[in-house]
Symmetry: C2
Subunit: 328 residues, 2 copies
């Protein structure tokens, strides 16, 4: 029987979950729940129910949904919605405020145990698949060094910082990993690299009418915290170029771990994501974990979980027998 | 309390397990068990017990070991030792005859259930970490294509084939992935590539006295099954060069999966191993799974398992709380 999934929140991530569900055979979308006016939401899949988040309190709604994928933000939405909805639904979310994961886990865990549901938190690629790869690599080669590089990717926070500079009409910022630093980490000699040594920053800026390009460039590259410590380039483009070339949301990165297995014998493990769409890929990870959440919930394994707690086979549509026969 | 580990079989893999255990803080080696005369075995760590495999039948031996790492071969040793030892010990092995995994699993599972032990089979990198990465990637991006490239690596089977050619005194063969094919798979256009399109083969040969180099080269590159379908090079070297430059056992490879998240939006996931020592790295993976096997066994989760059944956090020396606080 196909797993019935509800989406809570219909921004970039929620739309990505809708796309991802369309690519899975054993999961299907039953409803989109939003805080906006449902009439303002136009799902890609025309015939799906769109309702208000409040509807999720109804017993009938609850009976028709196996898993909710929570697509709200980590700052305002999830701290409230995560525990609240885990009381009645098996859930998956992408909570990504690293420092607050323990307290968020505790709140969701209490709710899920009380409600006999299962909640997998902090799913995505970082935290998520990158975290898993760091743990696999460090467990196998404990005497080693791990480095994570992000990009090439559009950074929302740094793009916002660029747009706040006087004279900037619009713009985006990409974080790009430094290939020399990657080579050092691969060779096991990159333990001393700081984040600023590992990445460069590239800004594409549309100037406001009458703004001075050199002043804008200088204001950006000297901005403390955001750019001053980095090798930063600023390229001026037209509004048309910005729309045409910079409206996708690519991202990705690489986790590299190098470690010795005997004196002088260095092995490296490298996990690389090249994402044409950051939100769509994150959504695809959430959907695979929604399958695992439903299986765990059905098996009576309740409470909050993270990706570390989920056996890989639970993500696959195939049975353990099929996996052993076909793949190992 | 430190986990007490026994090694069964002391070839390259068994010696690798010994090295790997020395790099883990919460596991330690208590004994090496061999079919050879124990007096012929000289452990790297001087003070460890060396005994015959028969000793493992003793109740006292059993009481002093938490996990056995089985380091025998998949063809002759494991089909017998795996089920036999799983009756009395929690075990980890690297059974890698892909086609026979279901029957091996069934035999080990019956033994482990009867003995209230836990046995993790087919651990290593392929099968093992590569299998995991194929399943993670295919679960997240189900509409995609996966390709595995092996190398640069020393192939034992192909090296043996080279050495059987008349006129060859000694030699080795490396399998090397084709970079053009890798680029096609990354871009999502490599679905039609056969193994022979994806790899080239490089032989380093020491000629026997009086042998004709051109005849030997021709016999190698035209050998059916092994070389005829591949782009193969033969380089003649001295016995001294062979010893100096080709006695390591490097290997590795890459699993690449590309898939769309919406029409035209291609994302790729790449997992790459660069191994200076194939047996030492395989041993390191076995040791991390030995930790998981002991934890599962202690928790009463008995029977045979594969890497698909093991939650990643179980491999780590850190607790779930530590993982959530530090890493996610």
């Amino acid at each position: 029987m196909s797993i019935r999934v509800g989406i809570v929140g219909y921004g970039n991530l929620g739309r990505g979950v809708e796309q991802a569900l369309a690519r899975q055979q054993d999961l299907h979308l039953v409803g989109i729940y939003t805080r906006r006016d449902p009439l303002d939401v136009t799902p890609a899949s025309g015939d799906v129910h769109v309702g208000r988040v409040d509807e999720l309190a109804d017993e009938d709604t609850r009976a028709g949904i196996d898993v909710l994928v929570l697509c709200g933000g980590s700052r305002l939405d999830l701290p409230e919605q995560g525990p609240e909805l885990a009381r009645s639904y098996t859930t998956v979310d992408s909570f990504d405020t690293h420092a607050r994961i323990p307290e968020y886990f505790a709140a969701v865990d209490a709710a899920a145990r009380a409600g006999n549901t299962t909640a997998i938190i902090s799913v995505g690629w970082d935290p998520g698949l990158f975290s898993l790869n760091r743990v696999y690599a460090q467990s196998v080669l404990p005497q080693g060094t791990t480095a994570t590089f992000w990009g090439k990717g559009l950074s929302q926070g740094h793009s916002d910082a660029v747009r706040r500079v006087p004279g900037v009409a619009a713009g985006v910022q990409y974080t790009v990993p430094n290939e020399e630093a990657i080579a050092r980490v691969r060779a096991g000699t990159g333990a001393d690299l700081a984040t600023r040594d590992k990445h460069t920053r590239h800004c594409y800026v549309v100037l406001a009418d009458g703004a001075d390009a050199e002043e804008v460039r200088s204001a950006i590259v000297t901005m403390p915290d955001y750019f001053a410590d980095y090798d930063t380039t600023v390229t001026f483009i037209s509004a048309e170029e910005l729309r045409r070339d910079h409206s996708a949301m690519p991202h990705g990165g690489v986790v590299i771990h190098s470690g010795e297995t005997s004196p002088g014998t260095v092995n490296s493990i490298e996990y690389r994501l090249t994402l044409a769409s950051n939100p769509e890929f994150t959504a695809s990870v959430l959907v695979a974990y929604a399958r695992a959440a439903h299986r765990l919930s059905s098996a009576g394994e309740h409470g909050a979980k993270t990706v570390y707690d989920i056996a890989p086979g639970l993500l696959s549509p195939r049975s353990p027998e099929q996996l052993r026969a076909g793949e190992l």
